[in-house]
């Protein structure tokens, strides 16, 4: 049973929902969650096509590196969100618009 097409559709749906989350929400943590959805959609496509083309390892390795970079990204981005919260009284991304004091 081949589910490549289903996985590609699921990846596309996750990607659209992630972009939608990043564009509509103002809260910075929502924006990060949208980014996680997008990264997972890309990784799912890699794995689905790796399976489709004969259990190749390359696609899975790409997905593993995506997970590694997503972990680093989430840690640094949440640190930045905490600093924004410390510097401004809010984490609304449209209100954090000053570089200096």
């Amino acid at each position: 049973m081949d589910h490549t097409a289903g996985c590609v559709f699921l990846g596309a749906a996750m990607f659209v929902l992630g972009v939608f989350t990043m564009v509509t929400r103002r809260n910075a943590i929502y924006v990060l969650m949208g980014a996680e959805l997008i990264l997972n959609a890309a990784a799912l496509n890699f794995v689905a096509f790796a399976r489709h083309l004969g259990n190749r390892l390359d696609g899975q390795m790409f997905a593993i590196f995506i997970v590694i970079l997503a972990a680093a990204e989430a840690a640094v981005a949440l640190g930045i969100v905490l600093q924004i919260h410390h510097h401004f009284p809010t984490i609304d991304v449209s209100k954090a618009d000053r570089l200096g004091d």
Binding site: M1, A5, V16, G18, E36, N40, L44, L57, A63
Partner: protein
Amino acid sequence: MESFSFWFFGACTLIGALLVAFGPRLVHSAFALVLALIGVAGLYWGLGADFLGGVQLLVYVGGITILFIYGIMLTPKGTTKWSASSLLFPGLIAVVPVAVMLHLAWTGLASVLPAASTAEPAATADTIGRAFLTRDQYLVPFELASLVLLSALVGSVYLARRKKES
């Protein structure tokens, strides 16, 4: 059976992603993200990527989500107010990929793809471990990833620390 697991985990993923996008509160969305990530891990297992599914559960569900929950607890709460004007532009953006998806569903993705491989998946942990430590495969990216993780660790500790009031 395999088909059932695909539909089950696919539904988990889709419902979780929908709740992240449209959920009313931040904490609900965070737990919906957990559901979506578990669904993706299940899909990985169904696709023969057993090691990757485990990594997904450990790193994403166990690590990143905890990080998100801490981020939510450390920042003020806020609710999203939807309005027609704020949804217009993102809705227009979303129309394009949805239209492409529907077009692909109409013509059939299978006609575009090369023939599916019939090879049965084997356990991958052993091969992945060897590939990580073989020089002409993934040794250099593997070592670079450790550097990236170390700098992310140091950087996030530096960023998240509270500065002393002077």
